[in-house]
Amino acid sequence: MIEKLMQMTRASGCAAKINPKDLEGFLNKIKQFKDKRLLAGFEHNEDAAVYKLDENTGIVFTLDLITPIVNDPYIFGQIAATNSLSDVFAMGGKPLMALNIVCFPEEKKKYNLLNKILKGGADKVAEAGGILAGGHSVNDKEPKYGLAVVGLVDPKKVIYNNTPEAGNFLILTKPLGVGIISTAIKGEIAEKKVIDKAVFWMTKLNKLSKELLKLNIHSLTDVTGFGLIGHLSEMILLSGKELGVKVSIKDIPVIDGVYNYINMGMVSKGAMRNQKIYSCLVEKNINLSFEKEIVLYDPQTSGGLLISIDPQQVEKAINLLHKEGFAESKIIGEVIKSNNKERIKIC
């Protein structure tokens, strides 16, 4: 019998990240390259690096690699590619060219799985308007797949992850919970309709239309391994301003069925770790059940965009997002002035 993709791996998707606190320790020891053409680099935990070639042209450069999050290899390839491409979109750029990065065991009877993974990735690169131009492989027991992606952006229109303004509204474009659903898939208790929903969102490109990008978006990032709270905290803490956020728990979209899996014990180590790291920034103004709270820390793979936008344009943005297939996009809160330690208020 062919082994299931998820049984070949320990941690799944973006929950397999190295502890962000540990990572910070390593990165601080690396020389910080300064160059006025480098518009986004190490400093702000940006989604991708941006290098200015001339007044009108910037290169967006990113790399992402994940372990299997579903058992279907073609779908896993699509998810991994969507997740990698997302970092280009999150900078306001468009993908140009991608390279495969693949780790896979050198076992001929499993090559059929690898073929399908690569096919899924190539199809998503094409859908994103990019071209696949090569790649690199490593013989490895645990499969991993992702892309290095180069994109283009107008240097004047780069949207950073740490430039929100007080008074901005916050939009989340995809529902939360895919990390928990992936754990439930690995535990073989996930129902088909819930898996289908998670797959739908994880394979939806975070590509925003020109019309949307013309709106006054102050800050943009994608919600991935550090969960919603982790990425919200990056947005405000790295702004260098006295900012906080107020989020409304009832407006945060969550995939149906997720709370049930949390009660069945399907919380990943990544979610618990995110909670441990980021909960000190959170002030809870309401009674939150465990399941409603932990989902805010759930590591997302190919998660939605977090958009900080001028309040006067928020309605237009939501209408456009709904039209572009982000049907569960919601205004989840607003950016406020705050110098409290607990800068993320949950109401």
Binding site: A11, T183, I189, N263, M264, G265, S268
Partner: protein, 70 residues
Amino acid sequence: MNQSIDVRGLSCPLPVVAVRNKLLEIKKGILEVLVDTGTSKDNITRMAVNIGWRVEEREEGEEYLLTISK
């Protein structure tokens, strides 16, 4: 006689799945569970309480012994 299950060394979520299957099989009585991560311990406790079992926890060095009963 109490039943027991050792889920040390299993990767998430296999510990909670193994304990859940065992609880559904024995239906009532006492099950002792040896577990080696905080996340698995919390997940097993939450799952067991949600399906109507009581859980007592004892820390043994870096491991935990859970006594689950109904």
